[in-house]
């Protein structure tokens, strides 16, 4: 049983009399709202559509043919990208997957146990602790990133995988979401029953509460995955060895080199397309069984 559900999803017949009104057949379409949303969707898809078409063009086609006319060079572009500096592009993709995957996993674990503790237990300093952790969300990354770099330099940890992973594990927003989900999904009686059976607190958390929190934790994981995948400033500051670059930083350096050499444009464009495909695919697959609304902490009370 999933106790996490979105409020009022589709206007199911009979439950929401307001929206189920009107003639059952030939329901009129609300033209203005539909048109507005379609225009908005087209605007949001425009750059993605452009890059998908542009990546098929050879270097000369890119400058000579109309933008939205497909070209003939996609296979060549991909081959060229694969060959670029012995396939460093795929190293960047692998690094991004590592940073985002492992980072989000660790972050979700910390958020889950913290959120659970804040939601289930009544203890001294609970609200203070919560507020202090939440204050982290308000801290502009800039005041953190430069001193983080200098401190990690003292520990000889800059230019390492750890320097990009560690600062992003603690996610105030993740803890906030996990607290909401734990409060909604884990009934206090269940925790009490676990205690009656003599289970330790950690065991109650891992065996009983954690499985109940899974739908919410998927959201925390995704949120954090996207946050790490999209991060640019932290790796930009921390890393100098391009074998450790994530894809964002790799594409940036590629653009930096390619800006003055239009011959490299196709490389950048193809790289950009292949970099956005995994996340788009992820969202398309996931939205079948996961609702976007969970991102803003919507739970059924």
């Amino acid at each position: 049983m999933s106790s996490l559900a979105v409020r009022k999803t589709a206007p199911a017949a009979g439950t929401t009399p307001g929206t189920a009104q009107g003639p059952p057949l030939r329901r009129r379409i609300a033209l203005i709202p539909t048109a507005t949303l379609v225009v908005g969707a087209l605007y949001c898809l425009l750059p993605v559509a452009w890059v998908a078409v542009a990546a098929t063009k050879s270097g000369t086609e890119l400058f000579s043919t109309f933008t939205f006319l497909p070209g003939t060079g996609f296979a060549d572009n991909v081959a060229e990208l694969n060959a670029y500096r012995d396939g460093v592009y795929w190293t960047w993709m692998g690094n991004s997957a590592l940073y985002a995957g492992l980072g989000a996993l660790l972050s979700t674990a910390v958020s889950a146990i913290s959120g659970y503790a804040l939601a289930i237990y009544r203890f001294r300093g609970r609200e203070t602790m919560f507020n202090v952790l939440m204050a982290g969300v308000l801290m502009p990354p800039v005041i953190l990133a430069v001193p983080q770099y200098l401190l990690l330099a003292k520990a000889d940890l800059t230019d390492s995988y750890a320097s990009v992973l560690l600062p992003l594990i603690l996610s105030p927003y993740g803890i906030y979401l996990a607290r909401i989900y734990a409060a909604a999904a884990v009934p206090p009686d269940v925790v009490e029953a676990g205690r009656m059976d003599g289970a330790g607190e950690l065991r109650i958390f891992t065996r009983i509460a954690l499985p109940m929190m899974v739908p919410g934790l998927v959201t925390v994981f995704l949120f954090q995955f996207v946050a790490v995948w999209n991060n640019f400033m932290l790796p930009y500051i921390m890393l100098s060895d391009d074998e450790k670059f994530p894809i964002t930083l790799g594409l940036y350096t590629l653009l930096e080199q390619g800006a003055n050499t239009p011959a490299l444009y196709t490389l950048v464009i193809t790289g950009a397309l292949l970099a956005v495909l995994p996340l788009i695919a992820l969202f398309l697959v996931i939205q079948r069984f996961w609702s976007l609304d969970l991102l803003s902490g919507a739970v059924k009370s």
Binding site: A41, W50, V146, L151, A298
Partner: protein
Amino acid sequence: MKSAPYAHPSPTTALKGALRAPYLFLLPAAILFALFFALPIGYALWLSLHKIEVKGLGLGSGAREEVWAGLSHYADTLTDSELLDGALRVLGYGLIVIPVMLGLALLFALMLDSERVRFTPVTRLAIFLPYAIPGVVAALLWGFLYLPDVSPFHFLLDKAGLPQPDLLDGGPLYIALSNIAVWGGTGFNMIVIYTSLKAIPVEVYEAAKLDGCSPLQIALKIKIPMVAPSLVLTFFFSIIATLQVFSEPTTLRPLTNSLSTTWSPLMKVYQDAFGKNDIHSAAATAVVIAFVTLALSFGFLRLANSRNQEEAR
């Protein structure tokens, strides 16, 4: 339960476990907070109040010493015209991004929430899609769409015989940069507002509908006031994010000469710290930016709250 083969922990040890558990559970978060939030902030403050003093010829290990600098870095920061220019640029940028982005987010959320609207699963996902695209890649994609050689806009304007504005220079540059932020941020804010719209009980609309209110009136008089808290929240976080703009202008830099390395205050911090190796004044600038950001965002929050209270009276 009379003759349990295993010993139950006595109530007191169980109680102790339950008392200790939350602190143990919060330990990882507390350690991470101390190491990666509290310590860096403290270190930034410390750095901002110190400077390097070179002794003798500046050679050898003891020749460079960090000494107390008082508020001198802050005085420099606050009178730095380069930083002020950057702040004004970002202010102009923010005045475009925040109203347009949140206006569109609210508009789309209301449209999603209206009756008999079609294709919502697809359009909602499409508008949300840019959230999954890194700011760097977004800037790169739009950067190419702005670039005269490959831009479809320039192509069409050229075919139509119309003048082609340089989107990567002067006033249009603000619009070009703002557009990237609006494109990237509208979807997420739309979801936040839409979620709170869906939390409004239907009964609330029923009465208004029976009274003959049009959908527009319902949206303006009922829905928008009821989602005001989430609008305030999205505003609050948008201010923080906008004042921190860094990756988009940094990514566009290779494509235009109009973006300096100190275009936004954050880029100046980076430039001071790593370009000029002056970490002390960079720290002071970072502290000032953080302070201004928090002052602006909390100022806005107070303003919004006092408005609400006045209306409640």
